[in-house]
Symmetry: C2
Subunit: 259 residues, 2 copies
Amino acid sequence: MKKLYIVSTGAGGTNYLTREAIDAINDSEVIVGYTKYIKELKLEFGDKELFNSGMTKEIARCDQAIEIAKTGKTTTIVSNGDVNVFGMATLVVELMDEKDLWDEVEIVSVPGVSSVFAAASKVGAPLSQDFAVVSLSDRLTDPDMINKRIHNALDADFVLAIYNPKSKKRTKPYLDFLEILSKFDERIVTIAQNVGREAKEHIAITTSTDIINQGLEHEDVGMSTLIIVGNSNSRLTKNGKILTPRGYLHKYETSGDLK
Amino acid sequence: MKKLYIVSTGAGGTNYLTREAIDAINDSEVIVGYTKYIKELKLEFGDKELFNSGMTKEIARCDQAIEIAKTGKTTTIVSNGDVNVFGMATLVVELMDEKDLWDEVEIVSVPGVSSVFAAASKVGAPLSQDFAVVSLSDRLTDPDMINKRIHNALDADFVLAIYNPKSKKRTKPYLDFLEILSKFDERIVTIAQNVGREAKEHIAITTSTDIINQGLEHEDVGMSTLIIVGNSNSRLTKNGKILTPRGYLHKYETSGDLK
């Protein structure tokens, strides 16, 4: 059967590519993706036919990938981070279903390292406990629902990861987020920019008070930013990293027996 | 400086290892891990010194890894899935802080493919939207807090991933989860066992009604099971996979312009 891979390239460049992802790309004749990511892959997979398109062209890009696969060329559409985390999986599956191509093109989805995990790995152990992931992009989600999710997550003491906090034109959801955050006790906050892209990566550890006070002026919060809000137990380690303890050391001996 | 890597091996065997993870292991003299995972790595990295220990020995294992790294041997401690998702990162960071070894041993954490993403990739596009991740293990978390997290997540229409649903001895949190789930409209549910371990992997798509009705008797729900509860918009595709639409196709033309 004809085949279309939806490949997670992981956060950042190509360092988080998994074996399965590399195998999928190698198995493909054609790679389709967002211009910036295609550029990075070109260095290694230059023998493939490459198609790129701009950031707002997601539907066209997925459609193109499906149409190319339909011609019989095994194709990969790449998606930064994990394909299921605000990535390309949804659109490809939705278009495949609309076009009713399931008997013609096989879809193989390859999971990857989402930026929340990449960012977490750089600042100690901030997740470690139950967590929630919310995108502040209100292009496709009702703003009230976004706010409710933020409230409910903080209210149940989840560690909370925020994707797409704001853009030049879209600032209201971020201000709403800060407003909700201000109703809770202070939390440790990680602000991660361009995770996994060594030259541009910038990760700051701060507090909810700081981001609330700085509002839209915070220099670290922009388009390619991920924010991780710790839970009420998150704390700084002696070397200034973040630890969200699970409670092992208080409850168990090193042997594994209960204290 | 002496070095200890905390390496995510991804869900399942070694197929989800990233380049960074392979580099970290290759850079190490010693690998420490849970017996089952060490066995899998042994086939490829047999030239390393390998230390393994049982499942309940997490603290001892992390302590051992730190102590070995302290002797000057570059060491990797492996953690299935992602190190930050109920993995080894927390314990290593907590022990490092207690021992105050930050000036002596450098910790490098390597992110990976968590089983929630691996499972999602096998059943279409079930995540795609804001999601929450909750472990039902009450060994270290207050049961009331677990229940509150489940309630708050469903109440805000998060896609909800449940780790560690039950064990032979621990069934109450799972029954509580079903009880809370029964208060909401029916949802599509994925039950994934042994994700990424080809021979043993088993993934079932069903409904919340089914798992509520079957209670503790459900044959697919056990120790190595991950459950993904869709949100209120999740639906089955024509080929029986799951789609949690983000709404693109209703709002935008293929060109990317607003409809």
